[in-house]
């Protein structure tokens, strides 16, 4: 039923190779002929079969995008941007979800390898060495992870974490907590590293809690531990966890930001919608998606000369374009962070803070304190 190149050839009275050229190398065909062929193709509804074409050219014009969890609000903007960029360049995109399972990542790469020109590996949880090995099977661009020798685009979460910690210590907080992300997350390690360093510089204590699932529930579950740790300010692996934590704290009768300040990371759309609006580190996820596609495709131009029976030096050659891009992050201060207020009532291990909205004056024993501010007034 669907028209083939042969149908068009017959209809326009030329050989199939001329039809082929009309579509893949138009300049090689007489413009009169070309117009005729195009007309026939048009009214037969002919479209080149890309799979068949790929069989011989070695380029599928498809890209794979592997993410940990499509439903995690961090990913959709990235997926959308990648898809959009890909399509502008006439590529289609396979999306696959690993459910945070490292084994699934590997399977997926294998399964997709043959039908794509490359794969975007988003926040992978598997080991660097495995990634490297897989990259010999199919061109890979890694997002949110640095693996030596492979093209990657990462967000500078280290800088973001530093900014966040400085913001917190600047508000007078000295007992910080960090809610770690999932095991195997490069981002989580970077955050931890930078946050630890920044806390030390500011003479603040930082308790690391985790690893945790990168979800709202993961955050909520840690509320009790945050309280036990006596932290007055918390940096979470991502916004979802931060929001979950705020809910958990609320359940414990601990108010944010009056008693505890909370900072998230990512600046997902949700962050402006919850109350208090979340202070967070904005990561350029859409840009990451676009950039990754561009890198893959540039990379891919080289890979196109697939070595039909050739030696394997080609694979090595491809790597020469390898680059690692680091995207800037920035701190967005909203309403979930505020100045440190030492508890004035008892301080018997568990921070004894009243649940009532009572922003009375406190003993400014901590260094770096700023003037007290009515939390209500800040709700912008």
């Amino acid at each position: 039923m669907p028209a083939t190149i042969r149908d068009v050839a017959r209809a326009s009275g030329v050989h199939i190779s001329t039809v082929s050229r009309t579509f893949s190398a138009p300049h090689l065909v007489n413009s009169e002929t070309r117009l005729r062929v195009l007309a026939c193709a048009e009214n037969l509804g002919y479209r080149p079969n890309r799979a068949a074409r790929a069989l011989i050219t070695g380029r599928t014009h498809n890209i794979g995008l592997i993410v940990a969890d499509i439903a995690n609000p961090f990913f959709p903007p990235l997926i959308k941007a990648a898809e959009s960029q890909a399509r502008h360049r006439d590529y289609h995109i396979f999306v696959a979800d690993t459910n945070e399972d490292p084994a699934a990542e590997e399977d997926l790469v294998h399964a997709l390898a043959k039908q794509v020109d490359g794969i975007l590996l988003c926040s992978p949880r598997m080991s660097n060495s495995l990634i490297e090995q897989l990259s010999r099977e199919v061109p890979l661009v890694v997002i949110n992870r640095q693996v030596t020798g492979l093209p990657a685009v990462v967000m500078d979460v280290g800088q973001g974490a530093r900014l966040a910690v400085e913001h917190l210590t600047g508000l007078g907080h000295r007992e910080l907590a960090l809610l770690g992300g999932p095991r195997g997350s490069w981002t989580s390690r970077e955050i931890r590293r930078a946050a630890t360093a920044a806390a030390r510089s500011a003479d603040a204590a930082l308790t690391v809690l985790g690893p945790n699932p990168p979800t709202e529930g993961g955050g909520t579950a840690m509320a009790e531990q945050v309280r036990r740790a006596g932290a007055t300010a918390v940096l979470a692996y991502n916004d979802l966890m931060a929001i979950g934590l705020i809910e958990g704290l609320d359940t414990l009768g601990i108010r944010v930001p009056q008693e505890v300040s909370v900072v998230g990371i990512d600046d997902i759309a949700l962050s402006r919608l919850v109350r208090p609006k979340l202070t967070t580190v904005a990561t350029p996820t859409a840009a990451a998606g676009r950039t990754a596609v561009d890198m893959l495709l540039q990379h891919d131009s080289a890979a196109a000369h697939r070595n039909r029976g050739g030696n394997r030096t080609v694979a090595a050659d491809d790597r020469r374009t390898t680059a690692q891009v680091m995207l800037q992050t920035e701190l967005v201060i909203r309403d979930s962070t505020g100045p440190h207020r030492p508890a004035t009532l008892g301080r018997n291990g568990s921070a004894a803070t009243t649940t009532t909205a009572d922003p009375g004056p406190h003993s400014p024993a901590d260094p770096g304190n700023t003037a007290a501010v009515n939390p209500e007034a800040v709700a912008s």
Copy 2:
């Protein structure tokens, strides 16, 4: 570099067709031979090239999923469910984003047609007749739309809208507004139809405002009009618009639910996270994704006998499995709806509400008024 069927054949000393059978019809090959072939394949890292296979079998084992906006929180759970279900059945899934553009939908269907076994058309904005026409090119399953003769899975938003209106009128509201969705949306039409009918049954007035973009901004932008319409209760096309509307009303100094009740549709994750928590109609989006994949694949089993040069009755035959599934919805009552409270101060055309939190008495010219309440007290 990647191993081909021929490499495996050579390594295991059999003909390529035996290798082929080992993978596509294992029972047809001697178990000893099979084991040997499998072993060779294994250590050559051979995997059948699905595109090449598709060329001859006519089945790509790929599915297309076309949505209006990946970043709209309504879609990710659906995409995730569809992807998961597809992969369980050994299918990969192309995801494409139309940016709410009907023309893009058509292009995408054409572009994807050849490399998929079928397409899931999600909340399409194009005309029924075009959809029908496209379905002759590639098997289609439509989600959130009913088009005669085509398999579809829809959410029963009509019932949901009715429930929502009944809830609202039950609370004493008599001046309702409906925030319509995007032009071309079947769902929007269904909601409008059901809401109108339900309002009439309850002797309530319903002002329809729209069409609107199905986004937060779309909702925010309508706050002023809602006020002008004098509505005390609003049903929005989706949660995003409902949330946006609440923000917009807040800016106008109108409190939800004290002065205006708002109901959304979809029950996206966000709805429980905003304050006030959103009353909404829960739609089973994940189930819709799964079901649509199942329908497509069942449908596809028939389509597999692609008519190589055959007549076109096959296409007609495929249609016999056509079914339309309607998924139940349910009203989730949270905190954005409350009893009608007649304004007691002036009513000079535009509902005169002060921006300061000053719930003073008003002249009760409007019908159906109840007592005033301190807005602060309700914010749970």
